[in-house]
Symmetry: C2
């Protein structure tokens, strides 16, 4: 009999890990609700026609595809089989897949329900997504995304709200120094227009996206190799090297776009977002304009942001931005949106590393009823029912056993009290309530025990 | 551009539906925790070697299988391809699948973590499972199971606890009349021993499992067609027809097993479970011994139970039982357990039908800040920050718009108050707080507004 294993890149979560993750989800949910986002759910399984061609070629490759039921080879021709054309066969035998993120399902949801929704539609969604990626440290094939998006408004007020929501969650998690990097895609497009390399904008953003990894020198080399001229590279450098406060940077920025309307629009948008936020400091972190911030995904069209920790090397722990054409790929135009996403796995890792997970108990049980012997067992079980009826979380040890063993069980589970009903005392309806911490014990009636546990439990 | 669709048997959940389901999950979780169960999570994707041959042939057929990544045809021979042998090809190109329930993943989890776990291990798990079933009314391909199990103890005290936990949850959901049907598999095995048809026990349980659908007459016909003798059928009928209170039924039951030790053991077990529960009535429903209760799954070996509603035709809304060999298929013996499972979809449907879902608000937002005009927008946004900082759930309308439109937005979302900052009044830092219910409004400072919302919100 083979030992069972987890599938590659998959994880179990113990009660302690689950409780820690619940704490994070609860903080995020509370903030999302406070800002007026409503929760929806969509299925894990989507038609591949919904999922494909939304994430680029790499994304399509990383989709988990689900084999059709029944005689799935039916629609495959002999020719296709003989040629062993993986792509054609795959397309013929798998019509469903697991969602890759929560954004494309949101687009589908909005398109299918647009006549019933109240716009602007503020929704949140916290759930698992799947990617057939090569597993490595910190990268899993199944992980949670915690997304909040506002669909149906171009107002930059919402961009500002998203920035504040990032701060709300991260400060509530008591994370120490963090920086919300802020940029606008139009500024990068504007730079390309001014530099005459609009045709190479994607190569440009791909290169600067690597700034953290390969440094400015590396980026300059990569751009050089990709045929960017020295003047163009110099333009980029003058953008990246803007110094000063956010207000000063905005001022300097304007002069960088003498001709590009897109660039000027980007500066205006960025400036508006900062104006909404105003001068009141954030709860925990700080906002830093970072014109080298590019964000990988192609669909962002305006504001983009990303949060990094100042003292922990961890990559971004949250990010997002504005997109103008979320639902265009489903044939519905003019559905702009802005949103953000927290990475639950990274948040958990960093909170654990910094010892910031609150002291979490995996059990709520405040008392374990000892199982003394067969003759009093049913009576003791009656006490369990009384405790439960009084709203007290309680357990009873399942078999008459040595007290040592029962104490150990309570200790391991973190149960603070034991209720011991010895035969003589039980006859007078008095029971020992023993504190496992202080080792003290007291003889009490069940209603006295209930009161005591309600006060101390 | 094709309109996007949901995959067959899949569902989206609107904010209102999600909130209703959250209510049910919260009630179930609170009860599970009160009884000392700790939450775990396991992945949606499992190796097919873990999933297959656990649910019978039908179950294997209903597994969603995931296509291997990369060149998945590699390991398939030309012969297999040409013969179009679906089963062989499937086995060669799909090594992973989606979990079919939460029980087999629990068995895998216990086997892999048995050295770290504290036994008896009381765990709960609430999550989605998937079955490639033909969708129909009330039957979906993706649905939630809410499971609690206790692993590593033979104590019938836990069987009694499970029965009480069923009552705890269903009474907390304020369901009206429900019946917890109770039986023991050993009683059915004992009947087979007494009747000399132990070799046909499965055909027997399959037949009586249909009692609700085809009636006693139908069961008798099916048994007759399967070669059961009249004497055997008569034995069954005398079991099913036992009348009286639960105590009386137990008494009469003993005489039905003059020779079968298994049958006697079943009676003793059932009697013990009833003794633990005692005479104190349940919170909401009642327990009824039902010797025709068989439960489909093969792995039950002792106590079995199932809950039905007295006034709504809905099938079972919760069920479970005791199994002695949960982990045997993974090579680990002596791991007995007992557990129960709530069906979230049926609970939701029945609560909705009976109007028992509490009045659910999809938003927690208590005030919408009106967006009056561009000149006061930033100042109003500052008020939003102040409300959030004071812990008040609030939104601001994204663009200066007609008041009508803004009121409509607040109404549709169920936001009870609007804060209106007109230019003149804003200059004196006083704002109108308008109740959408009573239409009354009052001029107040922001701190007065905060106090008022904290009191009434």
């Amino acid at each position: 009999m083979a030992k069972p294993t987890l599938s590659r890149g998959m994880r179990d979560f113990t009660p302690l890990q689950t409780a820690g993750r619940n704490y994070i989800f609860d903080v995020i949910k509370a903030a999302f609700r406070k800002y007026g986002f409503e929760q929806i759910e969509t299925p894990a399984i989507e038609e591949l026609s919904v999922l494909t061609e939304k994430y680029g070629e790499e994304g399509d490759r990383l989709l988990f595809r689900i084999l059709d039921s029944g005689n799935f080879l039916e629609s495959i021709t002999d020719e296709q089989l003989q040629s062993r054309n993986t792509r054609a066969v795959s397309a013929g035998i798998a019509s469903k897949g697991l969602r890759y993120d929560l954004t494309v399902p949101l687009a589908r949801y909005v398109v299918m329900n647009r006549n019933e929704l109240t716009f602007p539609f503020k929704r949140f969604h916290i759930d698992k997504v799947w990617r057939a990626d090569r597993p490595q440290r910190g990268r899993y094939r199944e992980f949670y995304q915690c997304d909040a998006d506002i669909i149906g408004s171009e107002s930059l007020l919402y961009d500002a709200e998203c920035v504040l929501l990032l701060d709300e969650v991260l400060s509530a998690l008591r994370l120490p120094a963090y920086t919300i990097k802020l940029n606008n895609r139009k500024i990068l497009s504007g730079l390309a227009e001014e530099g005459g390399f609009s045709d190479k904008l994607i190569a440009f953003t791909v290169a600067i996206d690597k700034l953290d990894k390969i440094g400015e020198e590396g980026v300059v080399r990569e751009l050089g190799n990709n045929g960017f001229s020295e003047t163009q590279i110099h333009k980029m450098q003058s953008l990246f090297r803007l110094q000063g406060s956010n207000v000063e940077k905005i001022e300097k920025l304007r002069s960088l776009f003498p001709t590009s309307e897109t660039g000027q629009k980007g500066v205006e948008e960025l400036s508006s977002v900062l104006d909404y936020i105003g001068l009141e400091p954030l709860k925990g972190g700080q906002i830093s304009l970072d014109f080298s911030l590019a964000r990988g995904l192609d669909y962002y069209t305006g504001t983009i942001y990303e949060v990094t920790l100042d003292t922990v090397q961890m990559g971004s722990i949250a990010s997002g931005g504005r997109y103008n054409d979320l639902t265009a790929s489903f044939g519905v135009k003019d559905m702009p949106g802005v949103g953000l996403s927290f990475g639950a796995e990274r948040l958990y890792d960093v909170l654990a590393e910094l010892n910031l997970l609150p002291e979490i108990k995996t059990t709520q049980v405040s008392v374990l009823i000892a199982n003394m012997d067969k003759s009093t067992e049913n009576q003791s079980f009656g006490l369990l029912r009384k405790l439960h009826a009084a709203g007290i979380a309680a357990e009873m040890y399942p078999t008459p056993s040595k007290m040592d063993k029962q104490f150990k069980y309570a200790e391991k589970k973190g149960i603070p009290y034991m209720l011991i009903a010895s035969a003589e005392e039980a006859a007078s309806e008095k029971y020992q309530l023993k504190s496992l911490g202080s080792k003290s014990q007291e003889l009490m009636s069940i209603s006295e025990i209930i009161n005591s546990l309600k006060t101390n439990g």
